[in-house]
């Protein structure tokens, strides 16, 4: 039994990045994005019988899934909280497909919504990671930033990856963002020099290589391939999925320059019967520039250690040979907390619907999506396709 082609995304809804969290709740943003997703799918809430929701950094509520279901008026046959950090959104898609395939439900709302509150994040949310609080916080890490800086530093040491190569990722994604009306940073293109001249925050990562947290929400609706056929928008099929984790804290990773994507992407490609060269675009979780380089290596788009030269010599814009994060990525589009990972799915869906206007990848048929949680800890890779 494979999930290949068994389910499809038939609706997407998004509340684009909002700079402040003032006066917002994750519950309220979730509801607004759900309304948009239902309209997009041409469905009524009564036609939904499953609900998955990601955690929120500011509303850690007991029985959060049930509360969201009640708030929205969903009476679910399947409800759960998917708590994989930035991989939560991708993790929801195959869980929804698996539940549908198993006959537990037929139409699942996959909801991510979060509100950025800097004070709450550092004072309340991060210390909830109890082991890190005991064994790492006494040494003064800078939130999640330090973990990725440690990866980048060792990647540079082992493979000669340069600051210019890392910066290229941010530059190409900004070019993409400039064609996205809802991206947070869509006014001015940037150059490699601009990235390297931005303040050094955690060596070797500069400010323009680090996501800007914000508030927002993204919702997609997954239903069976049979039910997907008569929806108003072209269905986008789940062709492959794989998930893997081998550590939580980067300190406990077997080798910090090799991520679990190596395994999650292998599984996703294997289920789909497709290869990296079959992908028309990639939508890779990009909390930092190094994340994209590691993802490309570990998913098999280039050899281990060659990610730096690869991104330097490859046009990653929507018009290039390997379009990557055509919405700008979270680096330029914004990172709405634990909802950020959904932006990589909504963008891939719009690309495969040929609905992206000026930044459309021509005749895009296959997309690779990667969700990355923690410090390259929880990885979920999806292959999505326009055809079944």
């Amino acid at each position: 039994v494979s999930l290949r082609g068994s389910a499809a995304i038939v609706g997407v809804g998004e509340i684009p990045p909002i700079r402040s969290g003032e006066g917002l709740t994750a519950l309220g943003l979730a509801a607004q994005a759900t309304r948009l997703a239902l309209d997009d799918a041409g469905l009524r809430i009564q036609e939904v019988d499953g609900l998955l929701v990601s955690a929120s950094t500011t509303e850690p509520v007991f029985v959060w899934g049930g509360l969201v279901a009640e708030y929205l008026g969903v009476a679910p046959h399947y409800v759960d909280v998917v708590d994989l950090g930035g991989a939560s959104a991708a993790g929801m898609i195959w869980r929804a497909a698996a539940a549908i395939r198993a006959g537990m439900c037929h139409t699942v709302l996959c909801i991510t919504a979060d509100v950025w509150d800097r004070e709450k994040f550092y004072a309340d949310f991060l210390p909830m990671m109890s082991l890190e609080a005991e064994f790492e916080l006494p040494y003064g890490p800078m939130g999640v930033n330090t973990g990725y800086a440690l990866i980048a530093r060792r990647h540079m040491h082992l493979y000669g990856t340069t600051p210019e190569q890392l910066a290229k990722v941010a530059v190409d994604q900004r070019t993409n963002a400039c064609l996205h009306p809802e991206a947070m940073f869509n006014q001015l293109p940037i150059s490699i020099e601009d990235v390297l001249r931005s303040p050094m925050v955690v060596d070797p990562l500069h400010l323009l290589e680090i996501v800007r947290p914000c508030s927002g929400a993204g919702v997609v609706i997954v239903t069976s391939a049979a039910r997907a056929a008569d929806r108003p928008k072209p269905p986008v099929y789940l062709l492959g999925a794989g998930e893997y984790s081998d550590h939580t804290s980067i300190v406990n990773s077997p080798e910090i320059t090799v991520s679990p994507i190596r395994e999650s992407a292998r599984l996703a490609f294997s289920m789909s019967g497709l290869r990296p060269s079959d992908m028309d675009l990639v939508s890779l979780y990009d909390c930092y520039t190094i994340t994209v380089i590691m993802s490309l290596e570990d998913a098999g788009f280039c050899a281990k250690g060659e990610g730096g030269p690869f991104v330097s010599s490859t046009d990653l814009t929507f018009a290039g040979s390997l379009p990557c994060n055509t919405h700008g990525g979270q680096l330029s589009w914004g990172q709405p907390g634990l909802a950020g990972g959904m932006s990589h799915i909504t963008e891939a869906v719009r690309q495969l619907r040929w609905d992206c206007g000026a930044r459309q990848v021509r005749e895009a048929r296959h997309a690779l999506v990667n969700g990355n949680g923690g410090t390259m800890s929880d990885e979920c890779t999806l292959v999505l396709g326009r055809d079944r």
């Binding site: 006494p138 955690v202 300190v251 910090i256």
Partner: protein, 119 residues
């Protein structure tokens, strides 16, 4: 540090069960404390208020000579002097939280006058 009585691997952080073979007979033993910098970063704008007066400081993963890795700070040298594979040795110090923590300094000690300890 803990060592597993069944598979004999070192276990860090301390646990009830060995994460490699699930055995429960973990015993404590003393290590050399020496190791090398596995990777590091320089924190310039700490997010934890009590660390702000210490910046810039080195946050690092140390690989002990016995093969186990842990998070720590490298002190008693300029942040710019730290490099991957640099040999380090242990020093104990009070953290801003007033807990005693295990930090590391270059091994052998730098010839320059020691700087203010971070952590």
């Amino acid at each position: 540090m803990q060592r597993c009585g069944q598979c004999h691997r070192l276990v860090f952080y301390p646990r009830e069960l060995c994460p490699y073979c699930s055995a429960s007979d973990l015993t404590w033993e003393k290590l050399s404390g020496r190791g090398r910098v596995y990777s590091f970063t320089i924190v310039r704008k700490p997010s934890i208020p009590s660390f702000r007066s210490l910046a810039p400081y080195v946050y690092a993963i140390i690989e002990l000579s016995e093969g186990v890795r842990l998070a720590s700070n490298v002190i008693n040298c300029l942040p710019e002097e730290v490099a991957i594979d640099m040999p380090v040795r242990p020093v104990f110090a009070k953290a801003p939280s007033s807990r005693t923590v295990l930090l590391f300094e270059p091994d052998p000690a730098p010839t320059k006058k020691p700087l203010l300890a971070s952590g």
